[in-house]
Amino acid sequence: MSIFFQQLINGFFIGSVYGLFAIGYTLVFGVLDILNLAHAAIFTLGGLSALWLTTTAGLSPWEAFPLATLFSGVLGLVLYRVAFAPLRRRADSNLSGLISSIAMAIVFESAAMGIFGARTVRFPEGMFPNRVWHFGSIILTSLQLEIVVVALALMVVLTAWLKHTRTGKAVRAVAESENTARLLGINVERIVSETFFVSSALGGAAGILYGLYFDALAPNMGHSIELKGLAVIILGGMGSIPGAILGGIAFGLSEVFTVELTGMSNLRDAVAFTVLLLILILKPSGLLGRGRVREA
Amino acid sequence: MFLEFEKISRSFGGVNALSEVSFGVQAKTIHGLIGPNGSGKTTLMNVVSGLTGPDAGRLLLDGRPIHRLRPHRIAALGVARTFQNIRLFPKMTCMENVIAGQHLMGGRALFPRLFRLPSARAEERQSVANAMACLAKAGIEGRARALACSLSYGERRRLEIARAMALKPRILLLDEPIAGMRLREIEEMETLFRSLVESGVTILLIEHNMPFVMRLCQRITVLHFGQTVTTGAPEEVAEHPEVIEAYLGMKSEC
């Protein structure tokens, strides 16, 4: 039984990590109907820039992490200006945006590799306090707890932000229909830029937490989570904020329990992607999607 | 009756878009479908062309039930249509739009073309000639090589009609075919529709331009809140009390 609970914690935790990555991903998709494949690169640069700030620049984590998050947001603005804004008016902006974001991802990753090298590095040991709790044979660390809490808090805060603030409402208006939003006097360009800023800042923050927990930062660290992040936002419903976190947790649990129930970890990814395929076929709007099938 | 609606019903999420709509369209006539916005006219047209299946009721074309068929099967039975919001292929030229519309006419077979058989060239010439004829009938042969997205609003409507005619349909469904057209264009369309009917085509059209409908249609059906108010000759319909009320109501809304 204790294994079961430990696995439950494992699944919850890794799922929250997926959710953190996916939340910014899904935000941009919700607003622009565009898949931003450079999100994984921003995630990577967020983590690596935090590392640079703590080691080379010698800042404390409390200074470095907000700065790196901010930097990721700025990268998001650059990304939007360079790769997406010029394509907005094109009929095939979905497809061309996909490719230009891939191009930017390549540029970002090569920059990361040129600056930081290709090796896997980590934050200095003991830089960030991490306590370990034992409940019988169940083990939980404070960092795990913090990541789950951050993920859930972000879900609540972002959802509330979208629902209740002026900017949030404007973001939703733009997501619904750009033209209508424009007629309502909303500065669409500004809202879209802000969305990119927020999305990328969240992506960068996810990269920092990821690197912190797994003790691993590398220019290619975004690759393995990129595909899972996609699966998660489809599972949760593209464009849905709670869907990203809950979809992430569902995905994490499905991974963990594939291992636990079948005892065959080599089935883990196959099960995850088969589930994804089935969801797309049976309920393309995802678990918490808006019920309408988009013709993206 | 050439096209017979029998108690057609359709609801969307609990809202009845059509409830027990029944009327008939006589062969080789122009039949008007009028009613305020949201009265279910376009839904009805979608039912005919198979894009929307009815929840209940039957739809007969020449005595044959077609309400369960998929759109391309219905088209193959000779039903062509245009759309209220015009669905052209914007990145193709006018000529290409019409050639694409010839799908059911056969021709342009793959194998003769692969081996460059003489029949391929003949088919090609035939297809271009037919397309040109359709464009000419719709009065836009002059724009054959223009991209569809470069056309004026009226020209787009005509091109869509030309593309529908490429099917050589038995019945043509026109959803607001003259919306946005200038007076001269409207007159040309009138002539075109009359000549089509003379050549044996049946036309069912939705239109808000009342004088046009009254002038052109042999019979008119009025829809209101998804129900048939009345079907009859233009002058009967114009004097029908419910119609007057419905239209006055609509006008006061505007």
């Binding site: 699944g11 896997t120 393995s224 005892g263 065959m264 | -």
Partner: protein, 384 residues
Amino acid sequence: MGMSAGNYAKKTAIVLALALGLTGICSRAPAAPKEAKIGFALSMTGAAAAYGETQKNGAQLAIDEINARAGKNGIKIVPVFEDDASQPEQGVNVFNRLIFADNVVIIIGPTLSNTAQVTDRIAQKAGVPVLGISNTAKGITDIGNYIFRDSLTEMQVIPDTIRVVKKKLGIKKVALMYGNDDAFTMSGYNAFKKALLDSHIKILTEQTFSKGDRDFSAQLTEIRSLKPDALVVSALVEEGSGIVSQARELGIPVSVPIIGGNGFNSPSLIKNAGKAAENVIVGAAWNESSSNPLNRRFVRAYTAKFGSPPDQFAAQAYAAVYIVLDALKRAGSTDNRKALRDALTHVKGLNTVLGKFSFTKNRDADCTPVVEIVKNGRFTVFGK
């Protein structure tokens, strides 16, 4: 036979002519050191970029040392570094270019075994020697008599490791964990499995993971519940250090050693896993802590130059350059590929950072693997 005047004159003329000719040659290349063009096909971008990077560093260090010491009559090395982007397709293009355009005398690389399977055939066909520095898959040197490697295969390292660990710790039952979508970790897995079966150690469970995974909690929780005597892992260092630190975090006690292969033999394991790396046992081709002065100097120079200590990939690349140099000296030419190949087969007991190095009959590496254990944050010798 007496020497007539005429005869003498004739001989003088010949000697003079020869002398003139020689000076002519000498004036064209005045006492310059001989140059050997060596091609490097390494993965400097793509999935294996982390290894290609340290390989390049290791090789560069060796070349700088050699060229600095070459003096007037020594052999200078002209490297041609090419990036195969971790893709066999680009590896082929790189090999063709090195062989036919750059006319290198030998190719060192490629980083990945999968790429070597394709590229080494091209070199074999063209008669260009190849010295693999990180190819551990079986069958690479079977491609032909021009293919060499200085990397020990997992089959050469792992049986020893298991034997030593069993003898010293008496382990009876283990959990086995491996990356199942990577050729390197798969060959390690096969070697481990065979060695474990051969020494009658029970495998309680086999768990897999994928390249790029960072979360291993599900597998490790499963493993923890089975209470193995040791955890045997075939992984590259990125995944390896994650497995090690998560295993400890999830409560697999330090008293349960974690046994790894060549992939674990890297300072970044200790760096990235931190304290969790204690009691990690590694069977490897290179011993960082070896007291061999050559090795001492290498570790010092590398760390000074690149800011971080070398790993096994760097060491094998560094050694490879010296192995080639040794063969070049005996080949009597710096551009004769056939002669270099023949000279390589005679490399015997060469003192390298990998220890005394020879090639086997089958052109595989012949050096003594060493079993190390991490104690107090350092690799120390556990047994041989």
